[in-house]
């Protein structure tokens, strides 16, 4: 494989095509998982922020990042940064909209106040369980439309 110079902008575009394996509507960029991108003659270096240390998808995501950049002819080193703590406030507005469409709400920063139901928009919601199908998600219930739904952990 021949390597050709690729701009940081092109690396960000490639990262926008790397989905979260459990929430495939959003990319690692939508989730606010990308801390930094650097490109030099040897290749790219991407620093990712793990949502949760124990997330079993981290290895898979790192592999997909390497593969997406290899498609662009770029060798990539992927590291997980620990100096930044991931929080739902890192999710981009686009990411929040995409998650809502698939029934996952995004609460405001470290807040246990009621989140808006992704189905009907009501705030008459409560946490049913802090533990959902993945480490980063909790299970909620909307009393207005009587629907359980998921939200990123507050």
């Amino acid at each position: 494989m021949s390597t050709r110079p690729l701009s940081e902008e092109a690396v960000w575009q490639a990262l926008a095509r790397v989905p979260d394996p459990e929430l495939p509507v959003v990319s690692v960029i939508d989730l606010g998982m990308v801390k930094s991108v650097a490109v030099d003659e040897r290749g790219a270096r991407v620093e990712l922020i793990p949502t949760f240390l124990g997330c079993p998808a981290l290895g898979w995501i790192a592999e997909k990042v390497r593969a997406a950049l290899a498609e662009e002819g770029l060798h990539a080193e992927v590291d997980f940064a620990l100096d930044v703590v991931w929080e739902p406030s890192r999710i981009t507005p686009e990411g929040i909209a995409k998650l809502r469409q698939m029934g996952v709400a995004v609460p405001a920063r470290r807040d246990r106040a009621p989140v808006a139901c992704p189905y009907c928009g009501a705030h008459d919601t409560e946490i049913e369980s802090l533990f959902g199908p993945t480490p980063c998600r909790a299970v909620y219930y909307c009393r207005a439309c009587r629907q359980p739904f998921e939200a990123m952990k507050p």
Binding site: F52, L53, V85, E128, F131, A138
Partner: protein, 263 residues
């Protein structure tokens, strides 16, 4: 120059020993959490304990990797191959789950102490330890909230639930001085800038943190204060009783010990 070199060695050694302690505690409690899979009283608790087990085991991996960096050995070997006699965990972390009241009260007390300890590590100057501690504080926060709710709910329910909670409290009380302690000299951790505050301060923070919750659950706090005062644990604490850790390790390593599998 010589004195300084030996100081550096001590620092690496103490960091490695601390990492082994934290790794052993998270791994053992995470294993006990995983024992509820398929058996928890409701489906949400099955999910919750699976999720917490996943968090604890990954936190353990972080500490074992740090111990590897400190020259203590390879991380997986440190996690799985050290016998009970070499473990540094608090006795409470390896205790069998018992009933639901024992499970949630044990976890609550551990999470409360862990939060106090992690804050003191996060606020100190050892950067790798502090970064890991800050991440874990966010993740452990949910365990803490979850267990706190269970303890209060069981206490307020009274009847059999209240009786079982009280029985669990009495069973766990003797383990608290060993929990609120370190497997290394706690003053050395402070002197080396790894821990922001001395052990007596952390113990006071622990009591202040659990007091309102115990009160809501109808449990007395003064036996906790008395138990801690009777055993200051101002030096490196002793090894936990071996039987619980031996049983846990033999179950945890049941498949690994077959030896023939390629991982």
């Amino acid at each position: 120059m010589v004195a300084r070199d030996s100081g550096m060695l001590d620092r690496g050694r103490i960091l490695g020993d601390l990492a082994l302690q934290l790794g052993d505690e998270e791994l053992f409690l995470g294993h006990r959490d995983s024992e509820w899979l398929g058996l928890a009283p409701e489906i949400e608790e099955d999910v919750a304990f699976a999720s917490m087990a996943q968090d604890e085991v990954r936190h353990a991996a972080f500490w074992y990797e740090l111990a590897e960096t400190a020259g203590m050995g390879q991380a997986d070997a440190l996690a799985f191959d050290r016998p009970a006699t070499d473990r540094r965990h608090a006795a409470l972390c390896a205790r069998p789950n018992g009933d639901w009241a024992h499970t949630v009260l044990r976890h609550y007390l551990y999470d409360a102490w862990d939060a106090v300890r992690l804050m003191a590590l996060a606020e100190a100057g050892e950067e790798t330890v502090a970064q890991g501690a800050r991440r874990m504080l966010r993740e452990e926060h949910y365990h803490h909230l979850h267990m706190e709710k269970w303890v209060v709910d069981l206490g307020r329910a009274g009847g059999e639930a209240g009786q079982r909670l009280l029985k669990a409290f009495q069973a766990l009380l003797p383990d608290l001085p060993h929990l609120a302690a370190f497997a290394v000299d706690p003053q050395a951790l402070v002197d080396l800038g790894i821990l922001a505050r001395p052990l007596p301060d952390l113990r006071r923070e622990f009591v202040a943190r659990i007091s309102p919750t115990l009160a809501k659950a109808g449990l007395p706090v003064h036996p906790v204060e008395a138990a801690l005062a009777a055993q200051p644990e101002d030096r490196a604490r002793s090894v936990a009783p071996l039987a619980d850790a031996e049983e846990l390790l033999s179950t945890m390593n049941g498949v690994r010990s077959l030896g023939a599998a390629a991982w």
